[in-house]
Amino acid sequence: MTQGANSFSLTRGLNAWREEIDAPVASFFSSCVHCGLCAQACPFYVETGDPKYTPIHKLEPMRLLWEQEYTLWGKLKKAVKDRIDAQLGRQPRPLITDEMLEEWEPLLYDSCTMCGRCSMVCPVGNDIHYMIRKAREGMVASGHAPEGLIAASVRAVKTGSPMGLQWKTLEVQIKHVETATDLEVPIDKAGADYLVLLSSMEIINFPEYLEAITKIFDHAGVSWTLSRDCFEATNAGVQIGSKDIGAQLVQRVVDAAEQLGVKNVISPECGHAYTGIRWEGPNMIKRAYPFKVFHIIEVLDQLRAEGRIQTEGKEMDRLSMHDPCNLARKSGVVKQQRSLMDLVAGDFVDLEEHGEYQWCCGAGGGVSSNERAEELKLAAFKRKKAQIEEVEPERMVTMCATCRTQLEEGLEEFNMDIPVVGLTEMIADHLVEKEESEKP
């Protein structure tokens, strides 16, 4: 997002793809037999019934490039075509055009949350979401990314937050939390064990989160801090599909963590922020971190396992849980949230397909920042809704602000009176109160 539209071109897009095509991609494209089973795994296809939303079809332009340039057969076909064109004295028809990418833009962005469910079911083993993430690099470079995501990326780069939120807004909230809890929210504490990051969406929509971790960390005696220089965990670069933007944003986190000398960084209740920092970040900046990265749920479960979280009482209504794709399927955090639920839930029932086989809420991967995708976002939610209807919970619990917003809006749209809560807050609500004498 540097010099405006002129710096994007089809050539740059194709070059970005050439950079992305690796051995796994080549093995995936070589293996697809068009069985179409990935469609059955995709909420966008399942709920619209439109075959163009079949996951593997979303990669057709990138596949064409791979076939022509990375296979002997493709190279031969191209040579023959060029020969014929030369003989007839006509211009060779380009393989991939801007019009084609324009047609594929909604397929790669509006109807894909990169949830990775298709990658779990493909019989030949294609990791389709791995390729979608790569395909988006070429879409950005060729100038075919959705406006909503471009705007979020520009705001993130300029202000540090995809929603343009500033420290002073957070500061007001910090003051509020401090008044409400009578506890200090540590800021820029060098040498703390944990640097806590937040997401703008959480700060705006779910201020309960900051209060909850303030209470829990005080309760468990955790040394933590916020950083004035970098409080934002989300990464618009990961969503739009630009390693350059992604690297810039993740570098801010790394700088803040290194400056404060923290041993660990905690990603908040946000899915893509976690995969962005945890898995993509080191590869975007091309070096390993000198600190560890955890999702807040991992940290809470570790504290629970160490006996540092004492709870009392349980929620007695029927609760179910939505696993964020980024946390469960894409990061291997499945048991932790369930162990935490056991602490505080008296009547918990899992959705039938959960954990690594969960269904996406329909809003991740940049879909929620892309206004054009509104209708599809709601359509995809119907799969989640069907899952929820099967187990009839009184409330849903989740641990990602985007999922939570989508669940709230979706359930409301369908007049389902099922409130949605964040797991961290729920834990905070059940902490054993300290004796007066223990208080500092």
Binding site: P24, G36, L37, Q40, P51, P282, I285, R287, E353, E356
Partner: protein, 219 residues
């Protein structure tokens, strides 16, 4: 050309040509894939890559319960004819002997009537798969000429084998020659089409399992 000349041609020079194209073609395809390599991964791993990678190679033979529930036809028919094809290919006694004389390794085959029944099921499975491809909206939408070509190229060796075994084409040398020829077409077409999935699917599954495995998920 007499039927016997035809048979000798398919068993002799054509067979050598087909085997050579197949072997060289597959080696090139695998080399094209593997030499692309993977970028160094700087993210701290949560899990191992190799074991989950190998597990995924096996696990994708058994679909997850949700997929089975949503696409039982694909799972049952797909599994049936794939297994049938492999059984007929590798466990029919004349095939075992051919492999033994070509590669020098052999194994016991199945009684002819068993292979015959399996072949019949495979043919029916392939026909059902074709009808499904032509009618199911997603498959129909995705399908290209290549998909129908490889269906035909797969179907013909099974069909001609069945017809030859039951002496439904006469004279027998012609029947056998046609069967061998169709197998040769299959071998020649294989490296240039998505029939390569016979080999590359194992590579793909491994990478899938390794990528997820590193993050602590068995895919």
């Amino acid at each position: 050309m007499t039927p016997m000349d035809f048979l000798l041609l398919t068993k002799g020079p054509l067979f050598s040509v087909a085997i050579a194209i197949f072997a060289l073609g597959i080696l090139i395809r695998l080399a094209e894939i593997l030499t692309l390599g993977r970028a160094k991964n700087y993210a701290a791993a949560r899990g191992n890559e190799v074991i989950p990678g190998l597990k995924t190679v096996y696990r994708r033979f058994n679909p997850d319960p949700g997929t089975f529930k949503r696409s039982p036809f694909d799972v049952i028919v797909g599994t049936l004819w794939h297994v049938g094809f492999v059984v007929a290919l590798l466990l029919f006694i004349p095939h075992v002997e051919l492999i033994k004389s070509t590669l020098g390794i052999g194994w016991p085959g199945l009684p002819n009537p068993v292979v015959d029944a399996v072949t019949a099921i495979t043919l029916l499975g392939l026909i059902a798969a074709l009808i499904h491809r032509l009618t199911q909206p997603v498959k129909r939408f995705l399908s290209t000429k290549e998909d129908y070509l490889i269906w035909a190229v797969t179907f013909l060796p099974v069909l001609t084998g069945y017809l030859a075994y039951h002496r439904l084409i006469n004279p027998y040398p012609l029947a056998l020659g046609l069967h061998i020829l169709s197998a040769e077409v299959f071998l020649i077409v294989l490296p240039f089409t998505k029939l390569t999935h016979i080999f590359t699917a194992f590579v793909a599954r491994y990478y899938n399992g390794a990528i997820f495995g590193r993050k602590g998920i068995q895919s």
